[in-house]
């Protein structure tokens, strides 16, 4: 027979786990806001953002100052260094301390914010203010800030991905210009690779999917994949550009020495966002990276003499050379906000005021997110930065579409990449079909 004290001890053994359960369950619902506030009233709105470096905080504060000068009745209380975890908790909790305007560094959660109505649909606000998103924002930026027509966020600066190359290494290898197609790129990567015993003294390019920005979705953008069908189902098992990207990467892994050797070499790399980044230390001669890398190199003590160019494209898409992967920071209005009209004035200023966008882009070395700002003569005119501006303006540049369960589908594709490059998965088509099933099941579960 179980005595009460014994039972208590048994129950106590699971107490800590119950605390875990409590953490999962301790958040129910949220209060609803509305757009009935007077936009001319003297109000203070709260703006959460993720910037934390002193220069970045100063830059966003300068933008806020510009807004407050233009709209003296709206005051902005900025709260920096906010992560998406905090955003999610605050959006659920609501209350007087919750933010009115929220920005996030990742586009992955836009689908989630739209379908759950955590962010309000900005279409009515844009219509009221005469903002035509098709004219104002480039296609990729519009794509990653909406889900199924619900424009629940707007782009607040962008990131464009291109090819960084070491000019000295190119010269030593007799390479006169950056590669434009995959076949040229593969040949250059092999030429730039120098062996030292069973490892490398220099690697032309790190193709492994763990090689920092060398992810499957970044590579695949060069082939313009279609991740979802028009009815929202996964298209990855029927998309030749995606399959060919996996195959190209796998072939390049073989040409550069094989998975095991490359993976061991990868473990010698320093942190991606430090001065020990392998491109900055000269361990690799070429790298796929965003526009921010140039600023990091310029601000560091790295001796690397670098050049930038659009990342190469598949040989059969040579006419689309110049495109690249686009992502960026997004901003939206919390549905719990009681000051949505005032919040919209701020969001509109942040995302569509050309001078504000250009100044902010110049200050933090990001790509602007409106067509007008991309064409502005006030933008940083350095050749490296302008290369990324052109990538962002390229009509074939593309992004990863929003999904109701965040970036889960990208993770599924990346996991297939790990398995395929390492040889654990040998049948690519079977892997893609399994990935498609997983993506569809995960999305169905989320809805």
């Amino acid at each position: 027979m179980t005595t009460p004290s014994r039972l208590t001890r048994r129950l106590a053994a699971g107490g800590a786990l119950t605390a875990l359960a409590l953490s999962v369950t301790g958040c129910f619902g949220s209060s609803k806001g509305g757009a009935n506030d007077n936009p001319n009233a003297d109000v203070t709105i709260t703006f959460w953002h993720g910037w934390s470096a002193p220069s970045e905080v100063a830059a966003i504060q300068a933008t806020i100052d510009g807004f407050e000068k233009k709209y003296p009745n709206v005051h902005v209380k900025a709260v920096g260094n906010i992560t998406d975890d905090k955003i999610n908790q605050a959006l659920r909790a609501g209350g007087p301390n919750a933010p009115d305007v929220v920005s996030s560094f990742t586009t992955d959660n836009v689908g989630e914010f739209c379908t759950s109505h955590a962010f309000v649909d900005l279409n009515p606000f844009m219509k009221k203010s005469g903002v035509d998103p098709v004219k104002v924002f480039p296609a990729a930026q519009r794509e990653y800030t909406q889900f199924e027509g619900n424009q629940c966020a707007l782009p607040l600066l962008s990131d464009a991905y291109g090819l960084y190359y070491n000019k000295a290494d190119f010269k030593a290898a007799g390479i006169t210009s950056p590669p434009k197609t995959y076949s040229e790129f593969d040949a250059d990567a092999v030429k730039l690779t120098k062996m030292s015993g069973d490892t490398y003294s220099q690697l032309g390019f790190m193709p492994l999917y763990h090689g920092y920005e060398s992810t499957i979705t970044h590579f695949a953008a060069q082939a313009s994949p279609t991740y979802f069908t028009s009815d929202g189902k996964s298209n990855v098992a029927n998309d030749p550009p995606l399959a060919s990207t996996y195959e190209w990467q796998k072939a390049l892994v073989g040409k550069l020495g094989g998975y095991a050797r490359l993976d061991k070499y990868r473990t010698t790399f320093g942190d991606e966002f430090s001065n020990n980044n392998p491109f900055m230390t000269g361990q690799v001669a070429m790298a796929m990276d965003g526009e921010w890398r140039g600023g990091m190199i310029d601000d560091s003590n790295s001796k690397v003499d670098y050049g930038v160019a659009p990342f190469p494209v598949p040989d059969d898409q040579a006419d689309q050379y110049g495109k690249g992967y686009i992502t960026g920071t997004i901003v939206g209005i919390a549905s719990t906000s009681q000051k949505q009209n005032a919040a919209w004035e701020f969001v509109q200023y942040l995302t569509t005021d050309t001078d504000a966008v250009v100044n902010f882009a110049n200050a933090i070395h990001n790509v602007p997110s409106t067509n007008a700002a991309l064409a502005s003569p006030k933008l940083d005119q350095s050749p490296a930065f302008q290369t990324f501006i052109k990538i962002a303006q390229n009509q074939y540049s593309n992004t990863t579409p929003s999904s109701p369960n965040g970036g889960a589908y990208q993770l599924t594709l990346q996991n297939l990449g790990y398995a395929y490059e390492s040889g654990k998965q040998t049948d690519l088509q079977a892997g893609l079909e399994e990935a498609a099933h997983t993506i569809d099941t995960d999305i169905a579960q989320a809805q």
């Binding site: 699971g14 800590a16 359960a21 998406d84 989630e112 759950s116 920092y212 889960a408 995960d442």
Partner: protein, 324 residues
């Protein structure tokens, strides 16, 4: 009296007696109220809510919607990370708990048997336990880095194989076990205290009976330590059921994919070998906002910990020799 009970007639309580019993009940409940409140609020409510939410679709923004067993079907049949995470968690429970108990006991016995400088060894072995988990894990990932780590450099110079450690699915769990055993100082101290409490007369009597050191250990030390062994096993199982920080940090740092704010990152690098159930709770609940499915994993964790605790307590009669 027996006849009265058998015939179903009972002496009727007077109103005064009933009032007194009511007062006693209220008084007893009042004395118990802190425990009742705490248990209800912090144990029963979250437990019942977690079970209920596991049968709902709930994203934290909108009200939960009853979906029956859909979440359970999804997690058990469709969510590809669940079974690998369960297997890994059980591996950690069995291997790490056993290793920590054995090593903690051996260290405790060794340190108390040292005649001179035992305090130095005690401090040396205990100090790693004080290291913050994230810092300790980062240090181990650095030390065991296959490309630049000093451990593999030494192994290479000795002509020994150089494992991939946190970068190799076959070695990542043993590497985490090594990290867990390195921080075994807490158990060592507890075992030392227990060992010093074993009556010396028992050892002397056993020695007079001709028992060697192994038999003395088996028939004197172990039975005396049984409650402590039980404590170490049960708290170890619970800790391993919540094993989150070390595998997460090791996997992310070794993979190089730290991920930005809000970005989902590959769980359980390399190849899912360090994925544990608590990581799934976070992934589902706070990255995919699928709180219903996260609750399924939380309930599985709860049931598993109950089963382990019940098994250990029944089989070992461990706490204070209950059942002896």
């Amino acid at each position: 009296m027996k006849g009265a009970v058998a015939s179903g007639t009972r002496p009727r309580a007077t109103p005064e007696l009933r009032a007194r019993k009511r007062r006693e009940l209220v008084r007893n409940l009042a004395f118990l109220s802190p425990w009742l409140l705490g248990t209800g609020l912090f144990f029963l409510y979250p437990l019942v809510t977690t079970v209920w939410l596991s049968f709902t679709h709930y994203d934290g923004f909108t009200s939960p919607v009853w979906t029956g067993v859909d979440n359970w079907h999804y997690v058990l049949h469709e969510y590809s990370f669940f079974w690998p995470a369960l297997r890994n968690t059980l591996w950690f429970v069995v291997v790490i708990v056993s290793l920590r108990i054995v090593v903690g006991l051996v260290l405790g016995m060794t340190v108390i048997s040292v005649k001179r400088g035992s305090s130095v060894f005690r401090t040396l072995f205990y100090a790693p336990y004080l290291a913050p988990p994230v810092a300790a894990t980062l240090a181990f990932v650095f030390l065991l880095n296959p490309g630049t780590g000093p451990v593999n450099s030494v192994l290479g110079k000795l002509g020994l194989p150089q494992p991939g450690w946190f970068n190799d699915p076959a070695w990542s769990k043993p590497a985490l076990a090594l990290l867990a055993v390195w921080g075994v100082g807490d158990l060592m101290v507890i075992f030392m205290a227990a060992l010093l409490d074993v009556p010396r007369e028992l050892y002397e009597a056993a020695e007079l009976d001709g028992a060697g050191s192994l038999r003395r250990f088996r028939h004197v030390t172990l039975p005396t330590l049984r409650p402590i062994l039980g404590f170490a096993a049960i708290t170890g199982v619970i800790a391993m059921m919540q094993y989150y920080t070390e595998p997460l940090v090791a996997g992310q740092v070794a993979s190089g994919q730290i991920g930005g704010s809000g970005q989902q990152v590959e769980p359980g690098y390399p190849a899912g070998s360090t994925l544990t159930l608590p990581q799934l709770v976070y992934n589902l609940g706070f990255q995919r906002f699928d709180i219903g499915a996260a609750c399924v994993v939380a309930v599985v964790l709860f049931v598993l910990s109950m089963v382990f605790a019940a098994f250990l307590m029944r089989r070992g009669s461990v706490f204070l020799g209950v059942g002896e």
